[in-house]
């Protein structure tokens, strides 16, 4: 059974790009347009990994990560931050919130798949 990855980004085109890359690697993908939308889509289902943008309307990525880490079903779900932000201070914020990796856009699909396969839950 294919593993499921939740992709959170306010850019529809970027969600599609990430989805194409992940589906090419054999993963199922659920899309959400911001942190709030993503929380509503978790719904107790099995999520093997989350990829989230940082700068988003309604609920930004760092807040979303903190919220996810409060949920018993998802506190151990690995999260990759995917953002244009490359400042060290921001990365440290992500790490403190509980993210497992920080990927700066634009990403190479094979590198993203390598990072995903390294972190994804069985």
């Amino acid at each position: 059974m294919a593993k499921t990855i939740l992709v959170v980004d306010d850019s529809a085109s970027l969600r599609q790009v990430v989805s194409i890359a992940l589906k090419g690697g054999g993963y199922d993908v659920i899309e959400a347009c911001d942190g709030k939308d993503a929380l509503s889509k978790l719904g107790g289902q099995k999520i093997n990994l989350i990829i989230s943008d940082v700068n988003m309307p309604n609920m930004d990525g760092i807040t979303f990560v903190k919220e996810v880490k409060q949920l018993p079903n998802y506190k151990f779900t690995p999260i990759i931050m995917l953002t244009t932000e490359s400042q060290e201070s921001k990365k440290q914020e992500g790490q403190a919130a509980g993210a497992k990796a920080w990927v700066v856009k634009p990403f190479k699909p094979e590198q993203m798949l390598a990072a995903v396969s390294k972190l994804v839950l069985p």
Binding site: D9, S11, A12, S13, L14, Q16, V17, S19, I20, A21, G24, V54, N55, T83, T84, E85, S86, Q87, K90, K91, G94, Q95, A99, K100, A101, W102, V103, V104, K105, P106, F107, K108, P109, E110, Q111, M112, A115, K118
Partner: protein, 390 residues
């Protein structure tokens, strides 16, 4: 302009001094000298008074001119304020709308492009999978082994048909050998029949001699003559049976020879058929192999193309992310234009406001592209993918 009163002053002083000097020349007496000095002092006094009047006139002119300047400046400032208000009311909303339209159109276009792109990738995957199914090749990282196995299995099964033909042919060879052995037996039987006939002749001759001797013996040999006669009858019958056996053997011999000839002929034809069959099988299998090699080469090209397309897809996926970056750049510009509107609404824009706006814009930057100077950006372009594991 400031030098005018001084030069005028010096002019009246000079005139007084000159008149004094002339009087002293004409009347070189103490009284003349006093008069000359008085003329000089008078020149200086007149000079001072003229200078004071001139300064007052100049100051008045300057005040008038400054008032006119300030009026013009105020008009200019008012015009500038009106311009800024007009800029705030007319130009900035248009810029904001155009920025928003550009973002929305670009997002829509890239979403559409990405969706089309995903469709192409899916159709390509399906086409390749269908090709694998149609050719019997193993899909996904497989090779032409599937088809090769089919051809090899076909070759083996056709080889079995050849073996069956060979076995049949061998059976016929054995049958022919057996027939030839039977011909040898019939020759022996023929000899035995001839021997039987010869024995019958000799027995007949003996019986005839016995009958002659019995006749010579007279009454005493009469019984013996009967026996001799019976022996002759038996020998005659033996001779006839021998002839019959000989005839039957001849029939059998002919039949065996004809059968052998037929079997031999059939064996020749079977051997010929087997050779032809093997040649046909070899030819068909060869054609299969050529076709398989063609399919294999085609599949190899397909796989290679697929690999190339996958790489192109990966590169395109990376490039398609430009929209997200440009969207962020435009959003930051929009935010700054909105902040600028607040400053322009009251028609004033101080340099401190500009500094604050620049600082606000810089604080919203997320990408290195935004932070780097324009010249550096032109040289380097977007930074490469970077992954940090925590």
């Amino acid at each position: 302009m400031n030098d005018e009163p001084t030069s005028l002053s010096w002019g009246l002083t000079g005139l007084g001094a000159g008149a004094g000097a002339s009087l002293l020349t004409l009347a070189p007496t103490p009284t003349g000298a006093i008069a000359a000095a008085a003329l000089g002092v008078l020149g200086v006094i007149l000079d001072r008074r003229a200078a004071g009047r001139h300064v007052r006139l100049r100051d008045a002119a300057l005040a008038t001119r400054q008032a006119a300047h300030e009026h013009a400046l105020e008009s200019l400032r008012e015009a500038q304020r009106q311009g800024l208000r007009a800029f705030d009311a007319s130009i900035l909303p248009v810029w904001l709308e155009q920025l928003d339209t550009a973002r929305r159109q670009m997002d829509s276009a890239v979403v559409h492009l990405t969706r089309e792109f995903a469709g192409i990738v899916n159709r390509l995957d399906e086409a390749i999978a269908e090709s694998y199914r149609a050719t019997g090749l193993a899909s996904g990282g497989g090779s032409e082994d599937g088809l090769r196995q089919v051809v090899d299995a076909s070759e083996r099964r056709l080889g079995i048909v050849g073996n069956i033909l060979t076995t049949t042919l061998n059976d016929k060879d054995r049958m022919l050998a057996e027939s030839q052995r039977l011909v040898q037996f019939t020759a022996e039987l023929q000899q035995m029949a001839t021997d039987v006939a010869s024995i019958a002749d000799q027995t007949n001759l003996l019986a005839l001699n016995a009958a002659i001797e019995a006749a010579r013996a007279g009454e005493a040999g009469r019984g013996f003559a009967v026996v001799a006669d019976e022996v002759r009858t038996l020998s005659n019958r033996s001779g006839e049976i021998g002839k019959n056996i000989s005839q039957k053997i001849e029939y059998i011999n002919r039949g065996i020879k004809e059968s052998s000839a037929m079997v031999e002929h059939a064996a020749e034809r079977d051997a010929q058929a087997r050779t032809e069959c093997e040649a046909q099988i070899t030819s068909v299998v060869g054609d299969f192999k050529v076709a398989m090699d063609g399919l294999s080469a085609s599949a190899s090209v397909l796989r290679s193309e697929n690999e190339g397309i996958k790489q192109a897809v990966a590169a395109a996926l990376e490039q398609l992310q430009f929209q997200d970056r440009i969207n962020q750049l435009l959003m930051h510009v929009s935010d700054n234009v909105i902040a600028l509107r607040g400053r322009l609404a009251d028609g004033e824009l101080a340099s401190a406001d500009v500094t604050r706006l620049v600082a606000s814009l810089e604080s919203s930057y997320t990408m290195d592209d935004e932070r780097r100077p324009i010249t550096a950006k032109r040289a380097s372009g977007a930074s490469a993918s970077e992954i940090t594991f925590f």
